[in-house]
Symmetry: C2
Amino acid sequence: MSIERRGLLLAGAGALAAPLSAPVLLRQAQAQTAPAAAPAGPAPGPSFYRFKVGSFTVTMLHDGFFTIPVEGFVANAQLAEVQATLAGSFLNTTRLTIPFTAMVVDTGRHLVAMDTGTAGINPTSQLLPANMRAAGIDPTKVTHVVISHFHGDHINGLLTGTGMTYPNAEVVVPAAEWSFWNDEGNVTRSPERQRGNFPNIKRRFAPYAGRVRQIADGAEAVPGIRAAAAPGHTPGHTCYHIADGAEQAMFLADLTNRPELFARNPNWHVVFDFDAQLAEAGRKRMLDRVATDRIRVMGYHYPFPANGYMAKDGAGFRFHLADWSSAV
Amino acid sequence: MSIERRGLLLAGAGALAAPLSAPVLLRQAQAQTAPAAAPAGPAPGPSFYRFKVGSFTVTMLHDGFFTIPVEGFVANAQLAEVQATLAGSFLNTTRLTIPFTAMVVDTGRHLVAMDTGTAGINPTSQLLPANMRAAGIDPTKVTHVVISHFHGDHINGLLTGTGMTYPNAEVVVPAAEWSFWNDEGNVTRSPERQRGNFPNIKRRFAPYAGRVRQIADGAEAVPGIRAAAAPGHTPGHTCYHIADGAEQAMFLADLTNRPELFARNPNWHVVFDFDAQLAEAGRKRMLDRVATDRIRVMGYHYPFPANGYMAKDGAGFRFHLADWSSAV
């Protein structure tokens, strides 16, 4: 089960959706989320959150979560050590919850979706469309979709069914990511577990043909949002630096999976990495930068609302969620 | 200004409301919360959160926040030390944000409001009624209101205007708290800053005459919710232990103000304490218990969603927010 699940997380929901019908998935989702006692209103509540970076408004949009066995999740650490680390952060030590949180940045000039959610990779995901509605964001008004990397949980939301979720947007992608995954010659040069990405990527980008813009490391996706390459997790995995006036933030994407594991231990390798050594080098460099400069960070698999700060702590870093404020 | 504000936080909004009209307060609130850039939907979003304790459903209901100068806030620590501690948690070092989060516990048999919010102690509070609506909780269905202590930010929400917010509820209070504040002879035995509480308490409880039930330390407010006295912050300040089946949680109320200060440094005294030495002893005892037994805790002034775990760390404790889950 665990291997198939991991494959799915990388390659998209196709394989899961095939044997299970939509009504079955829906019933599963309901069974998992329905409160046992007398329900006291909607459950779960909307999960979106807002903060400012200069004059920009950032909205974090939760897309639910996935769970995976802890055993085997860290490729190069002993299970007991991983479990002790999880227990130290009061997380489950047998099944790890991996949250998904995408974001939308309103720069005043552009409305920018950064990564797209899972489009329902499992019964406890695909909350993004509802949370986007709750946040008052209309996907048809999105001017740009900016992608960190091409794993399914980040790009599957480009499509709603077979149609475009963002019919009026330009899609901005890291050039290194685009060229790698669009070269069929790379299939056999990829780890087995990553190969399902090739057909999924083709399918998810197909309707956007002619409006995909590739950008190099250091280039701006839109004014104020700039690519900061951190390859390894995938060949072109890219963070994005967001700046307006004197304020800045960094979308880390999958620089680390859960920070309680991989910021605390930057030398640990998540099984989803394409080139784990390269990922580790970029992770250490970027974590050192955001910790030293006390830059607010957003992480796709961080605990909702998935934004905060990194502090150096021993050989690693400790993630502090930003203080929740009801005033944007 | 700071002294008056502190007085207000203890004694209620009466003094603030007098010189400022309702429309002025409303405009202030709008000015503080309106987004600067093109708004991308509602701001702030609803701030309620749910989790289970056994079969009980706990809903955390954010009531906004208050800010106060950091200088003078900790009665027995140097400003520089306090500021370094705040910076270590990435909090503002000149003005401290103090959040308010009340809660409702649905035990299946009873619907229990625990503390009541501020009823609008300042322009950035009084979000509780809207968040309660968003959470689908009808205050007329609340069967019990359980109070930790009688400071204004915890009891003012008993009233909406001059009427009862919870017209069908029994109000359960710590006997020690009730008898202290209802004895006029104690006015002159109280610190200057606490004296405004006497008339405010009289006013807030007045419409509930005949349905206030006093309970002793260790007694149940309702089945599954039990008083755990922790006096000092006020003479009868009480935590509540919540248990169903094998699961448990502890509502800490004001055992500590912000955990980043007073759990990290249990020997620090917040200026709001009635008897700071007594409070410190109870704080150390209770923090040691919840850390040792890894009991989930809820804190009224903790960062939203105001629930998590305490871990021993040096001479103090580090608060870990519980992992956010969109599945209740």
